[in-house]
């Protein structure tokens, strides 16, 4: 009986410890620097801006091009050959508003926007 009791205490202790670790991970999980680049709804790049070196790269869609720039932990659409340039005019990515290029179906957004907001109107 005593052995059995110790056994269950040990089991509970393990569950307790595992739960505690899990909760800490969930509650303090780092987010805020991970950015996804999606084309037509599909994630084509996942970038951790805190680790990326400054660079530019080109994404193509049906022959049309978008140039994405990463600089000093920020990301933006540097150039696009779409007519309206809404994406370029959006500037550097902020947590609230994704950078969207409609003609080329390209979206740059934070993977887990940590703004305390559920959505932004505008």
């Amino acid at each position: 009986m005593i052995r059995s009791q110790k056994f269950w205490i040990a089991v509970c202790a393990v569950i307790f410890a595992a739960s505690a670790v899990w909760c800490i991970l969930v509650l303090t999980g780092s987010h805020g620097n991970t950015v996804t680049v999606k084309q037509d709804g599909r994630v084509i790049f996942t970038l951790d801006l805190s680790k990326e070196t400054d660079r530019e790269f080109t994404v193509e869609y049906e022959g049309r091009k978008n140039i994405i720039e990463i600089s000093g932990g920020r990301i933006r659409m540097k150039a696009a050959d779409c007519p309206d340039h809404v994406c370029v005019n959006t500037g550097w990515l902020t947590a609230n508003i994704p950078i969207v290029c409609l003609p080329n179906k390209l979206v740059i957004e934070y993977a887990e926007p940590d703004t305390g907001l559920d959505a932004t109107a505008g």
């Binding site: 509970c12 569950i15 739960s19 179906k105």
Partner: protein, 338 residues
């Protein structure tokens, strides 16, 4: 043994923080109606309900698109002048557009499309049209000349209609209704900056909606809502610059030129998405004074947040307690409209 129960209870309590599956967020994204939409919902049926919502949005777009040659609006625009049979929901939305044209004294006009096109806002090939060209095009603008009879609509020859100023709001209404019918009690739609909520968050608290700062990145403040639509129109959304002048996409139907009403953005909050959608454009065209007058005439049946060019923020009483100005915009002069 007491100690044992204590440990078991503690373990269960901690484990329970991972047992929130039924409140897990499900989301979908879709490119439709010339914008990027994100839908999110909570609950058991959330995934299926959102898949159905995406299909619904695409169906509505196929009916209402002004550029898709298969759409009902496309056909009506090229009738020419003949009655065209359309679906009940299209006829109903066109009738709503005509009604809002009348109600807003012409500030909203679903037949402004040819003017918007001339300025290049539909294609991205921007140009400032001549006064003569604008005057010529305005002769064929006037939503009151469009007629709806049963499920037939008639667009007079030479005129074109476009539901762009009400379609996203109307789609949000229909999707919210569909989600509620599917048993979803908590969902938030972001149809390209048109936000609409079903219920509140799963924990019962209100959704926190940022109101975009017309001056750039970030927000002017946060509005807490439940079961409401929040729709913003601003000149910053689409514009071009020529010879040092900036021209934005919100046309004043009375001049055929970008509205110069002293406003940077108008956010309308209310029950009906399409009504808020229509009003955010109309109030922007009207300007602050006429907007307030309109709000009184409508028995304060909606709320608004207006950002003026001279850094004023006008907010109606109904939502002023649910709004918090962003810390970075302490310069805004807030006025509560009662």
């Amino acid at each position: 043994m007491k100690k044992l129960y204590g440990i078991v209870a503690a373990a269960m309590m901690l484990s329970s923080c991972s047992g929130a599956e039924q409140n897990e967020k499900v989301s979908r994204s879709v490119f439709a109606m010339d914008t990027y939409m994100t839908l999110m919902a909570y609950g058991d049926n959330a995934g299926e309900a959102l898949d159905a919502a995406v299909v619904r949005i695409q169906e509505l777009e196929a009916k209402w698109s002004v550029t898709d040659s298969g759409s009902e609006i496309y056909k009506a625009d090229r009738s020419p002048g003949q009655p065209i049979a359309v679906s009940a929901e299209t006829a109903e939305l066109v009738a709503f557009g005509i009604d809002m044209n009348n109600k807003t004294g012409g500030a909203l006009d679903i037949s402004i499309y040819p003017v918007l096109k001339e300025w290049g806002f539909t294609t991205g090939s921007y140009k400032v049209p001549t006064d003569e060209r604008i005057a010529e095009l305005l002769e064929n603008v006037g939503a009151s000349r469009v007629t709806v009879s049963g499920s037939e609509i008639t667009v007079p020859e030479g005129m074109m209609i476009d539901l762009g100023s009400v379609a996203k709001g109307a789609a949000a209404d229909k999707v919210c209704e569909q989600l509620r019918e599917a048993g979803v009690a908590s969902a938030l739609l972001d149809l390209g900056g048109n936000v609409q909520a079903v219920g509140s968050k799963p924990d019962g608290s209100k959704w926190k909606i940022g109101i975009r700062d017309p001056h750039g990145e970030g927000t002017v403040g946060t509005l807490s809502i439940e079961n409401k639509a929040v729709v913003t129109s601003g000149g910053y959304e689409r514009f071009f610059t020529e010879n040092g002048n900036t021209y934005h996409h919100i046309m004043d139907p009375s001049t055929g030129r970008p509205a110069e009403s002293g406003l940077l953005s108008v956010t309308v909050v209310g029950e009906s998405g399409r009504y808020c959608d229509a009003l955010s454009t109309s109030l922007f065209v009207m300007g602050a004074e006429k907007a307030e007058e309109f709000w009184r005439n409508e028995n304060k049946g909606f709320d608004y947040i207006i950002i003026t060019e001279d850094a004023g923020l006008l907010i109606t009483k109904g939502i002023s307690d649910d709004f918090i100005t962003s810390s970075g915009r302490g310069d805004l002069k807030v006025t509560v409209v009662e």
